[in-house]
C-alpha cells in the first residue's frame, strides 16, 4: 500500500499544503506552476495505456507507484478527462448485489476514503450518503435483497422507511401523491460524490511525478502485431510507438480499438446524458437515485443540482442523446421533489458509455497476446476508478488477473458465468 502523502510525489513537485496556499495568497497566486509535463512520445514503452480517463490514469499511477513499472505511457486522443470521467454525475457507492462486484467496488470505496491524501490532491470526496428509492413492491424486495447481501459482505447498508428517507432528505415528497410514490429506500452512508476533474488531474499529476508520460492529442489509429500475433506497436497520430503490453481503457470507444486488433467485444456504445441546474442554496444533503424512474440527483458545492438520466435507447457515438430522455428524468424529479418545478436547467451533455450484457466491466487479457482490456464500465465506472486502477495495474505487472478481477474476464461470456448486475438492478450511475 502507498503511504499517505507518497513522499516521491511530494519530492517530484512542490506538494500542496496549507502553508503553500497561505504563501501564495500573499504573492497574488503567481507562484503556481504546471502540475504535469506535456512530453513528446518516446519510441517504445513497457506498457502503453490507451485512454486518459480516470481508469487509464489510475492504472498508470499504480504501475509506477506500486509495481515498479516506470516506462509507461497514457495516450489520449483529446484532453485527459475529456471522456466520461469528466462528464459523469460522480456517484460513488459499493452496494452492488453479487459478491464479485461487492469485492471490487468496496475495495475502491476504501481507497476513495484516503485518496486525497494518497495523491496529495483534493479530490473532494464527500461521503454524504447515497439513497436509492423503491417505488413498487418489487423494487422494495430488490432493495431489501441488496441490503441483506451487502451486510453479509460487510458493506454498510440500511433499509429506510419513507419517513426515514424524508428525515435524511427533507425536500423529498414521500406522500402518496406522486405517480410512483416512495415505498422504501436503501441507504449507504459511506457513499457520496467526488470532484471528477480533480480525480483525473490528481492521478495525472501523481503518475507524471513518478515518470509516466501522459500524452494528450495522440489518437491511436492502429494496432500492429508480430508474426506470432502478439502486440508489437500502436500507430498513433503522433507516430508509431512500440510496446509488448497494450491496455485498452477507452470506455465508449473500446469496440473501435478492439476492432483494430481484430476483436469483436460484447459491448455496445450508448449515449448517457446529464444536466445541471442553476445554483441554489443547499437543499440536497445526500445523493438520491431511482432507477425505476431514471432519476439521479445530488447538489454540487457550487449549489447546482447535478442530474443524471437513463441511457439512450440506441447505440451511438454522437455524444448528444435525445431530448425526450432528459425530459422524462426531469418529469420524474419534479414529481419526487415538487420544489424543483420552477428551477431552470443550465447545461446538458452526454458521454458515450460502453455497456456489456451483464452490466459488469471487462477486465483482463484477450486472445491477442499482450492485449488487455479495462472497459465495459458502462454507466457506472467512476466509482471504481481507484480500486480498478490499483488491481488492474497489479494484473498487468503480474501478467495474470488479480483474484478480485479474475471473475470479470472476457471469458465469462463463453463460460456463462455472467455477473449479472443487469437483472439485479440495472442501475445507471
Amino acid at each position: 500500500m502507498i503511504a499517505a502523502h507518497d513522499p516521491r510525489i511530494l519530492r517530484a513537485m512542490r506538494g500542496f499544503s496549507f502553508g503553500r496556499i497561505l504563501r501564495e495568497s500573499f504573492s497574488g497566486h503567481t507562484g503556481w506552476t504546471r502540475q504535469w509535463r506535456s512530453p513528446e512520445p518516446q519510441r517504445a514503452y513497457d506498457v502503453v495505456i490507451v485512454g486518459g480517463g480516470g481508469h487509464g490514469l489510475a492504472t498508470a499511477y499504480h504501475l509506477a507507484a506500486e509495481q515498479g513499472v516506470r516506462r509507461v505511457a497514457v495516450l489520449e486522443k483529446g484532453w485527459i478527462g475529456g471522456g466520461n470521467s469528466g462528464r459523469n454525475t460522480t456517484i460513488v457507492r459499493s452496494n452492488y448485489l453479487f459478491e464479485e462486484s461487492e469485492a471490487l467496488y468496496e475495495h475502491s470505496l476504501k481507497l476513495w476514503e484516503g485518496l486525497s491524501r494518497t495523491l496529495n490532491y483534493n479530490v473532494m470526496y464527500s461521503p454524504r450518503g447515497v439513497m436509492a428509492l423503491g417505488h413498487t413492491e418489487s423494487d422494495v424486495q430488490i432493495i431489501r435483497r441488496h441490503v441483506h447481501a451487502n451486510r453479509l459482505a460487510g458493506i454498510d447498508a440500511d433499509f429506510l422507511t419513507p419517513a426515514q428517507a424524508k428525515a435524511l432528505c427533507p425536500i423529498l415528497d414521500v406522500s402518496q401523491a406522486p405517480r410512483y410514490p416512495v415505498l422504501g429506500a436503501s441507504w449507504q452512508g459511506r457513499g457520496g460524490v467526488a470532484r471528477h476533474d480533480a480525480v483525473v488531474w490528481g492521478y495525472a499529476r501523481a503518475a507524471d511525478a513518478l515518470g509516466v508520460d501522459v500524452i494528450e492529442n495522440c489518437e491511436v489509429t492502429g494496432v500492429r502485431r508480430d508474426a506470432a500475433g502478439a502486440v508489437s506497436a500502436v500507430e498513433t497520430t503522433r507516430g508509431a510507438i512500440s510496446t509488448r503490453m497494450l491496455a485498452l481503457v477507452a470506455a465508449g470507444h473500446s469496440s473501435v480499438l478492439a476492432g483494430m486488433a481484430g476483436l469483436r467485444l460484447p459491448i455496445e456504445s450508448f449515449p448517457l446524458q446529464a444536466l445541471v441546474s442553476e445554483p441554489v442554496k443547499p437543499i440536497m444533503p445526500c445523493v438520491v437515485m431511482s432507477n425505476t424512474i431514471d432519476a439521479y440527483m445530488s447538489q454540487s458545492d457550487k449549489g447546482e443540482l447535478v442530474i443524471g438520466a437513463a441511457a439512450d435507447v440506441y447505440p451511438s457515438y454522437a455524444q448528444r442523446g435525445s431530448f425526450h430522455v432528459t425530459g422524462a428524468t426531469l418529469d420524474s424529479l419534479c414529481e419526487l421533489f415538487p420544489c424543483l418545478r420552477r428551477l431552470r436547467m443550465m447545461r446538458c451533455w452526454a458521454g458515450i458509455v460502453d455497456i456489456t450484457p451483464d452490466r459488469s466491466p471487462i477486465l483482463g487479457p484477450t486472445d491477442v497476446p499482450g492485449l488487455w482490456l479495462n472497459c465495459g464500465w458502462g454507466t457506472g465506472g467512476f466509482k471504481a476508478i481507484p480500486g480498478s486502477g490499483q488491481l488492474f495495474a497489479a494484473s498487468l505487472a503480474q501478467g495474470a488477473p488479480h483474484p478480485v478481477l479474475a471473475p470479470f474476464g472476457l471469458d465469462r461470456f463463453r463460460t456463462g458465468r455472467l455477473i449479472d448486475e443487469a437483472t439485479a438492478a440495472a442501475v445507471s450511475h
Binding site: H253, S255, I267, Y314, Y317, A318, S322, F413
Partner: protein, 90 residues
C-alpha cells in the same frame, strides 16, 4: 430525437414510436447442438458496435408493429435508408 423512415408505413416517424432491436444480420446457429462455444458466444454477445454506418433492426411498435432494417450513421445519428427484410445477413 431520430426521425426514422418506416419502410412499411412509408413515413418518417419520431423515434419514440419505435423500439431498437439490436444489430442486424445476427443469425442463430442453424444446428444449435453442433455449434461450438465460440459460435454461441459470438451469436449471443459479440457485437460490431461500429462507429460509422451500422445496420440494425428496429420495430415500429407504436405504428404498424413490424420489423425492418435501418442503416444509420452512428457518428451523426443520421438515418440513411431502411428496408423491410430482416432475416438475411446485410
Amino acid at each position: 430525437m431520430l426521425l426514422i423512415p418506416c419502410p412499411h408505413c412509408r413515413q418518417s416517424r419520431p423515434e419514440r414510436e419505435f423500439r431498437h432491436c439490436g444489430e442486424a444480420g445476427l443469425l442463430r446457429p442453424v444446428d444449435p447442438a453442433a455449434a461450438s462455444d465460440r459460435e454461441w458466444t459470438d451469436y449471443l454477445f459479440a457485437r460490431t458496435n461500429p462507429k460509422g454506418e451500422s445496420q440494425e433492426r428496429w420495430r415500429h411498435v407504436h405504428g404498424c408493429g413490424r420489423f425492418f432494417v435501418l442503416r444509420r450513421d452512428t457518428r451523426e445519428d443520421a438515418c440513411v435508408t431502411s428496408r423491410a427484410g430482416v432475416e438475411e445477413a446485410p
